[in-house]
Amino acid sequence: MYDPTVARLTYRALLGRRRALILGALPLLLIVLSVAVRALTGADDQTAADVLGGFAIATMVPIIGVIAGTGAIGPEIDDGSVVYLLSKPLKRPAIIFTKLIVAIAVTMVFSAVPTLIAGLILNGNGQQIAVAYTVAALVSSIAYSALFLLLGTVSRHAVVFGLVYALVWEALFGSLVPGARTLSVQQWSLAVAHKIAGGDLVTSQVSLTTATVLLVVVTVLATWYAGQKLRTLKLAGEE
């Protein structure tokens, strides 16, 4: 399934200079923020949970997921260079699967690693907060990558839709509208984090079972469907 050449091309496209800068900006902001908070308020569990939950998990991870997930395939489809992959005796689902792995790896590196560092800075992993949120970042990296890779395969405006989803749905509705909370990657990953941290510093609106099932179903379905879409992708002309 995994094709190392497709992976190499995808990594190089994703980690090109400009995109890497965008990918690095939010993690840097998170760490600067954490240093500032720690310096101003000292180590505090609640503050650590607020920063990691409110910024890292609610905003940074989905945005990195959008950039990596849609960026793993969208630009190639837009500019037509995907034709060099499609004109090969490769199974379409294998192309998608490989790109998913790459998107997950990139999202994890740019979101989970800074989350862990920020957590350690904020309260030295007291109450397991740093580790719990890091695991949440890892888990949601998988689901976001799959969702946004699908979006990048089916839509030319994937980045816009992705950002709207990440910012409006996950960050805003997710905390306001009860129904939206069940259908939120963020809440699913928090359910896993809650299991690790225990206590009530890290909480989720959904149970661990529901969260696990939804995470697996969404990831698998999105990946399968993207593979199907790529099989019948029509390459438009120049216009």
Binding site: Y84, S87, K88
Partner: protein
């Protein structure tokens, strides 16, 4: 030896009919797909390459369907019209990647780069390449796996005359080796120079098919039309009609001009200025009213 069979293929986009019930067979050797802009060449080539489903009809390569059949790409090499091609790679990296995707190694890539004479620039980033260099690297990527069918969409676009000659030579060799080579172009001269066989497509329809002599004849054995304005249209008309190269003259009152039909192109173009000079008439406008490619083609369709 491969044969590509296009059987009653149509393709529409919304209510635009891009390809209209085309049936043709492309065999070994070089075939030119000729047609004006928007004729449907790219749409047809995309269907031949399995990147677009025909709305109706089928495309098969030696009996195998090309749509939704990725195995077929072991036999097909594609040179797309679009420019984009992983600009962040070097030419060599790009061709090696294409070889690997076919399950081949760097050796096959190097051979393809040598074939298109791009070794000298293979370690530069594609972003720095000229249009002709890009075209040749695309060509190398299409050749790595030694395909029996080669599809090229407007391969000569943006090439200088020398690069054009080189690519023509290369395609000719491929055709002589028994490969099936199909390229599209909207320039008759280009197609004539290279293609053993020509398929003409106009407005989505299959307009003509044959060797270049046949296509030429269809295009030249016909009256040429000119729109002429002069200081004395009537005197000019009277003088011209006496010559056998002039088949008909019409005085267009509304335009204030002459509409002249000439049967012998060479003779008429020499005659007109001479007659004008002899009679002391000044020529104000001489414009071929149907020399544009479109009208040449529409003549073909009507024929």
């Amino acid at each position: 030896m491969s044969t590509l069979t296009i059987d009653h293929v149509s393709r529409w986009f919304g209510n635009v009919v891009a390809v209209n019930d085309i049936t043709m067979t492309i065999g070994p050797g070089v075939t030119g797909l000729l047609g004006p802009n928007g004729a449907g060449k790219s749409t047809l080539i995309n269907m031949m390459g399995g990147f677009l489903a025909p709305s109706t009809g089928t495309v098969t390569l030696d009996g195998q369907p090309v749509w939704r059949n990725e195995k077929i790409y072991q036999h097909i090499g594609i040179v797309p019209e679009r420019e984009a091609m992983y600009d962040f790679l070097t030419g060599r990296e790009f061709v090696v990647a294409n070889a690997e995707l076919h399950g081949l190694g760097a050796k096959a890539a190097q051979k393809a780069l040598a074939t298109v004479e791009m070794e000298y620039a293979q370690d530069r980033r594609i972003a720095t390449y000229s249009k002709g260099m890009r075209q040749r690297v695309k060509m190398a990527s299409a050749l790595v796996h030694d395909p029996s069918l080669l599809l090229l969409d407007e391969p000569f676009n943006g090439m200088d005359p020398r690069q054009r000659m080189q690519l023509m030579e290369l395609l000719r060799t491929m055709g002589d080796e028994g490969r099936t080579v199909l390229f599209s172009s909207h320039i008759l001269e280009e197609v004539e120079q290279l293609a053993r066989h020509i398929e003409v497509v106009v407005a989505g329809r299959h307009a003509a098919s044959g060797d270049f002599r046949k296509i030429r004849r269809l295009m030249t054995d016909r009256p040429h039309r000119y729109l002429v304005r002069s200081s004395d249209d009537r005197a000019l008309a009277a003088a011209l009609i006496a010559d056998p190269s002039t088949a008909g003259i019409e005085v267009d009152m509304t335009e204030g001009a002459l509409r002249i039909q000439a049967v012998d192109f060479g003779r008429f173009t020499a005659l007109l200025p001479k007659v004008a000079r002899d009679h002391g008439i000044r020529l104000l406008t001489v414009s071929p009213s149907d020399e544009s490619l479109e009208s040449v083609f529409s003549y073909l369709v009507a024929a």
